[in-house]
Symmetry: C2
Subunit: 202 residues, 2 copies
């Protein structure tokens, strides 16, 4: 199945500015994107990066600088999947569950109301990534056929905020996790959940 991997190439991951500089954020975002494309490939999908700007990539790239919703919607010819480029915990197993799930529309929710992955097998679905998109996508999907939800922690964690980096250090198995370790990011215990700290800047 064709799998679109949307990627924001200009000023990526600004919410990680507390621990990573601009060039580092770009490097880390690229590492996550490569991990996602590799995992999609291992799961039997054919990844195409849908990038806001030209990038170097071992995988096919199409460039579209429009907002995410429009750029994805124009390429939603079923069967097709959309998997975000910042799912640093995604494994071939998790993506196989996604791509193999039955249903006209398959949704994988993200933390905080996002929609981290979608499989579309019906021509009448459209995306809307604004706000709490998982609620909108459920509604749109309910109007056009059967909807399946994939219950996956690995697909639910998109890496946007500093705390998310703890999940990558704890559970990541790819280049992005290695990149963070080499950059000196470490788990830091707090009263509640674990977060990260940085002992050294390169």
């Amino acid at each position: 199945m064709d799998v679109l991997v949307p990627f924001a190439a200009s000023r990526p991951k600004t919410r990680l500015a507390g621990v990573l500089g601009p060039d580092e954020r770009a490097e880390f975002a690229a590492a996550m994107r490569r991990d996602v494309c590799s995992a999609v490939d291992s799961a039997g999908g054919s990844p195409t990066v849908l990038s806001t700007d030209p990038i170097e990539s071992a995988w096919p790239v199409v460039v579209d600088d429009r907002p995410l919703t429009e750029a994805v919607d124009d390429r939603l010819e079923p069967p097709v999947a959309v998997v975000m480029a910042d799912l640093a915990l995604a494994t071939p197993e998790a993506l196989s569950r996604l791509l193999g799930a039955d249903g006209g529309v398959v949704l994988a929710p993200g933390l905080g109301g996002g929609t981290n992955a979608i499989v579309v097998r019906t021509p009448d679905f459209h995306v809307d990534y604004h706000g709490a998109s998982i609620a909108d996508h459920r509604r749109i999907a309910a109007d056009v056929g059967t909807t399946t939800t994939v219950d996956s922690f690995r697909l639910a964690v998109d890496v946007d905020e500093t705390d998310d980096l703890a999940e990558v250090l704890l559970h990541g198995e790819g280049q992005a996790a290695r990149w963070l370790r080499e950059a000196g990011l470490e788990l830091e215990m707090t009263g509640g959940r674990v977060t990260v700290s940085r002992s050294a800047r390169r």
Copy 2:
């Protein structure tokens, strides 16, 4: 399978103090606990609440006021499962995947390094809930046999912080979600992930 449901009965959920008063936090914690026990029951498990203090409950209760690790460890006679009482998104389906997963030890990671659910089928495993417990539990499990990890968003979200309430409003299907709605909690859109706000206090 016997399923222990640890519950901190005294001053529960203090990190929700920004949006819920003390009595409300106790009510909400009880609603989550009931949802978890019902879901465990529907998944074919036999829930027993392991409470720090005496509570009223439709399910069996044992009281043990020691720290979590000791209280659980003393009751870890296999086969047995441990499912936290604040997994407000847990469904019978998610718990069936947990209870039905093969392996001497089955782990369901929580956000921020926690261990939200465990199945123990080997007598040599012990728990350690301090710090990033999922890393410790993986290590302990690796020493005693085969370990399986259940990849579930619904089991990964334990409700500790205000942002977690957004997950309950978005994905919850039980009493806890209803309780939040009736208390006037609503989704609030921010720049990134959705959180909650409260328009009215009862």
